[in-house]
Subunit: 358 residues, 4 copies
Amino acid sequence: MSSAERIPVAILGATGAVGQTFIRLLNGHPWFRVAEVAASERSAGKSYAEATRWIEGEMPQDVAALTVKACDTAVVSSPVVFSALDAAAAGDLEPAFARAGRVVLSNAKNFRMTADVPLVIPEVNAAHLGLIAAQRTAHGWTGAIVTNANCAATVAAMAMAPLHEKFRLKQVIVTTLQAISGAGYPGVPSLDILGNTIPFIGGEEEEKIEREMQKMLGTLEGSAIVGAPFVVSAHVNRVPVENGHTVCLSMSFETKPTVADAIATIRAWKGDPSSLGLPSSPATALRYRDEADRPQPRRDAMDGKGMTVSVGRLREDPIMQLRMVAMGHNTIRGAAGGSILNAEVLVNSGVISRNARA
Amino acid sequence: MSSAERIPVAILGATGAVGQTFIRLLNGHPWFRVAEVAASERSAGKSYAEATRWIEGEMPQDVAALTVKACDTAVVSSPVVFSALDAAAAGDLEPAFARAGRVVLSNAKNFRMTADVPLVIPEVNAAHLGLIAAQRTAHGWTGAIVTNANCAATVAAMAMAPLHEKFRLKQVIVTTLQAISGAGYPGVPSLDILGNTIPFIGGEEEEKIEREMQKMLGTLEGSAIVGAPFVVSAHVNRVPVENGHTVCLSMSFETKPTVADAIATIRAWKGDPSSLGLPSSPATALRYRDEADRPQPRRDAMDGKGMTVSVGRLREDPIMQLRMVAMGHNTIRGAAGGSILNAEVLVNSGVISRNARA
Amino acid sequence: MSSAERIPVAILGATGAVGQTFIRLLNGHPWFRVAEVAASERSAGKSYAEATRWIEGEMPQDVAALTVKACDTAVVSSPVVFSALDAAAAGDLEPAFARAGRVVLSNAKNFRMTADVPLVIPEVNAAHLGLIAAQRTAHGWTGAIVTNANCAATVAAMAMAPLHEKFRLKQVIVTTLQAISGAGYPGVPSLDILGNTIPFIGGEEEEKIEREMQKMLGTLEGSAIVGAPFVVSAHVNRVPVENGHTVCLSMSFETKPTVADAIATIRAWKGDPSSLGLPSSPATALRYRDEADRPQPRRDAMDGKGMTVSVGRLREDPIMQLRMVAMGHNTIRGAAGGSILNAEVLVNSGVISRNARA
Amino acid sequence: MSSAERIPVAILGATGAVGQTFIRLLNGHPWFRVAEVAASERSAGKSYAEATRWIEGEMPQDVAALTVKACDTAVVSSPVVFSALDAAAAGDLEPAFARAGRVVLSNAKNFRMTADVPLVIPEVNAAHLGLIAAQRTAHGWTGAIVTNANCAATVAAMAMAPLHEKFRLKQVIVTTLQAISGAGYPGVPSLDILGNTIPFIGGEEEEKIEREMQKMLGTLEGSAIVGAPFVVSAHVNRVPVENGHTVCLSMSFETKPTVADAIATIRAWKGDPSSLGLPSSPATALRYRDEADRPQPRRDAMDGKGMTVSVGRLREDPIMQLRMVAMGHNTIRGAAGGSILNAEVLVNSGVISRNARA
């Protein structure tokens, strides 16, 4: 579609760190155009440039000039809504927008585990978007809510997906090293993290990883997701890294693969066909690296423009069966970029109309 | 003993990072006096001040003035020898010193797994020092070699010791976040680690953790150590932290303790009586912390002057039985401080004579 | 004085970063005992342990058990008050405490430049404490307010003091590299400073350095300070360092010293006799280091338990006359430790009574 | 020119940090093609992939497959040679290549101050390339050596250029905060710089800045450069930043500009016309930023793909006349990118032939 015909989208929570990442990633997007930015009452009425402490790179000029709106269905008219709202706000606002006929792509945690809300990584479980029909029926909505997962859960789920598909995961112990950008802005005080690590992340980070992986790797049966029956145990750590969450994984499967089989399976995996060839699709969704000391966040997080998850060091585990390391960009693949890829799949499947206009 | 009567000790590999830590920790020690510093031929003959790029704090003035000797039993005469040699040099030199009647306290990896060499954390397995008699008999030595473990293995073994004693550890998965000082100086290039993490440490770091924990938590039966029969799986990571190795532990036991039992067991643990009340003994060898986000290396590594290992976040694990986090100072408890504590135990047990003179 | 007889002191703003530093430094102090902690209404009534997110090391147990009071002269009764209040609160509260007969040692910026308020580094300008008489007369106070300077100004003023005394400073250009702890807690977000530097610090940091150096290096004439007539130009930068402000100085003097003279002058300087031999006095207030690459914050900030300012690289300057680098601990020498040293001088001079009781 | 017709170039010192930056920046270059990589004897004969510890991003596949050659004119045949040699090697090798008819673009310090060698930032002093004729005559070379400056000098010289052109700089005090990548790989040990700053950089960094700025801002008169008559004083600091050197500048001019004039002059400046519109030319060579807290290395270093120098905080100085802050990418604008831009100018001016073939 031509530039003039791009689908108008709104960003809710546009002034925060995740909101800014949406705006950076949508800058020059071939299908979507940031038509509206919305934030708290405190920012509403100001220009976006004035309301926002921009964190990374340059603010796109067309967005800088937009007037920030309130997060209200009466004033925000775009048919597609990317939600970077925090949990306190998302609970009421996201259903309101869905009720008002908008397709809401959400980063918030509120509805991820709701039975009729798809929690989607397109390469892994695009089929779960089939829940939208049930969701609409149940609530009488013409819009919808589609969520993406916790950033660490996303990295782990993508890395596990090909192995789970083929060998059926039984148990996985996930120990994370998570970047500071995962906590938003201002987020982690520098006095807490400079030259330090913290073995805890608030907001039930470990619980989210444990339950969201089960849902994402589960299956859509009828109009419900049946969670994958494996067990997840998570230890989380915050580390002084800007972007890129690392997860160390110890895994056991119903059918134990050899190391060579497991690596070949990861290398051969393409992900769901509906996820391929979209504007935000990386050439390689999952890259297995042979170097002994990779993946590393500073070197690999931007692989595939931040949409590739990198895996390495797959080897035997003397307690479980296999162990490996995975790493992905937490604010791109694990947040805003993931939402945008979800939206692109929904355009292709017709849930979002190419002719949608405010 | 009065200051004039302190036991003279030599430091082998005195100019490197571990050697410097020995010198810092022995500065003002009530029992030991750094009488000799020895290093490679390149440094021999220079003053210590001239030969050394001192890394942390101020160089003790009496040591600065010493002339660096070659690592040769003919020129180094102290009865007690702390070895900060690298593996390439330790293999020949440490046995030479033991043969020459010296008690060698070694940080090198070479002899840690040798059957008749004790691998000791005094609080955990001081009884293993009983191997010295067998070692002397076997080699016809009047001296001895006593080793301490890999720094990450030390932290993990101390944290596991009370639980293993009471509940018999079966399996433990150890994921580490290790400080840069563990790699010595110059060690890790800043371009590799600033704002980054590396999921790998060379020199068989993972294998060392796996096998050294078994030996240290094993038992002395007759004149041999029977390794503990549990299985260890290690993932290692380097993180941009100066000092303090963190280990995330997932554990299963023969008898599953409750969380409360496990915490109480850790809190009640004092360690081997022979390890208590020595100049380098911390008031609390193992400290359980209640805060949700501790231990942290920058805040807790210097607890007990670097000799206390901190533990926290002990909780149920859905796959194994329990999980927790432990952290300790890698160059003090995990290296030079551990060696010095070993030497203090040997003074009290008479292996090192209080009247020893060069 | 015996432990039971120590002078009771109160900390205002006790829960914040500077307040915590007061409590750490006063732990075990031979003359002062933390008898009261006061903070905002939000914290009042809670135990100090409950009200405080403790940042560094362990909270002293006797203070942990204190109940936080409101910052009110009616409920805080200690005769000596260390103020870690922020500027918004200090403006009203510090005079109220002085009026109520308390000696207030303040870190806040509010009254530093007030004509009858001494701005003191004891080694540099203890004589300025003579202003207290005029201050009491002017306001009818029985108490007093004594301030210490901006942390970067303190480091620069101490480094300049011996040279100014002897050669009369005319101009100095100060470029700083300032640690994150200078901004308090939570202070600088990690996303702003990790792997980054910021060429600006809010709150008129540059102006404070420029004017406070003139006042501190000025002279008490009659009942007023005549500012030193030199000109200061400051550039400030925030850097990812935990503690220790570095200042690069380019200087010209009325009488140009040789490099050798200048170094000898710094080395010979002891500071005002009234500042020597106190509990918080460092053995060496100003240490000149010969190494080409020092001082460095991580290696030198804790010199003299954080009370020594380190100087190095004094050399010719092709534009001004001389240039050098100085570095000191910003929250110890440049904040809480400086206040405590001021109080110690006031005990010795009788302004604070050794028999003072609440 | 078509891809097949790109000019073949060789990289000397190709395996090091600067060499790698050349290869990254030349990947996909429209005019140049990396045809040869050369390095020390130790690497010669291996594939580039095998010989190189690649630091950032992915190694271009076509270069990975090249066989590393010795740095010898007999085996390296490309007409254009980018030299990332260290000073020990450059002294002999660069003249040898020039003698052999190659155009050598050098990052080494050896010949920067040589009278007949141009030291060039194209926007600033492209006219100095006129020295090549004299250089060829003097040495009887058919090739040439063209150098670019020390990375910090480059940032300072670009920021000063428009002001010097218009107001004639008299004096400038430069205090730097320099990134670790400036020291190459392995370069600065992490134990030296993590959470620390170092007020010194070896290799006469300060002297280089002082003299190279004078040469670059000097004028070509006849066949010689007359250095600019201003005086430079430099203080250097290493800081824990990956890329981007910051320079704080205090300046006086023959004609004192107002702040507004100075900012307008910077904004209006385009640089030498011959530097514009080339493949590596940034849209804006010098960007003045209005934000109070910019430029910052992590946020601004990649502006203009690393070729834009950012300036901010221009304000009155109470001692000199004006002060400001400038920041640029040290390994792109300040090293490899600068060399490539020099080469592009030489293609346009005919010194490098578009038809050049090995």
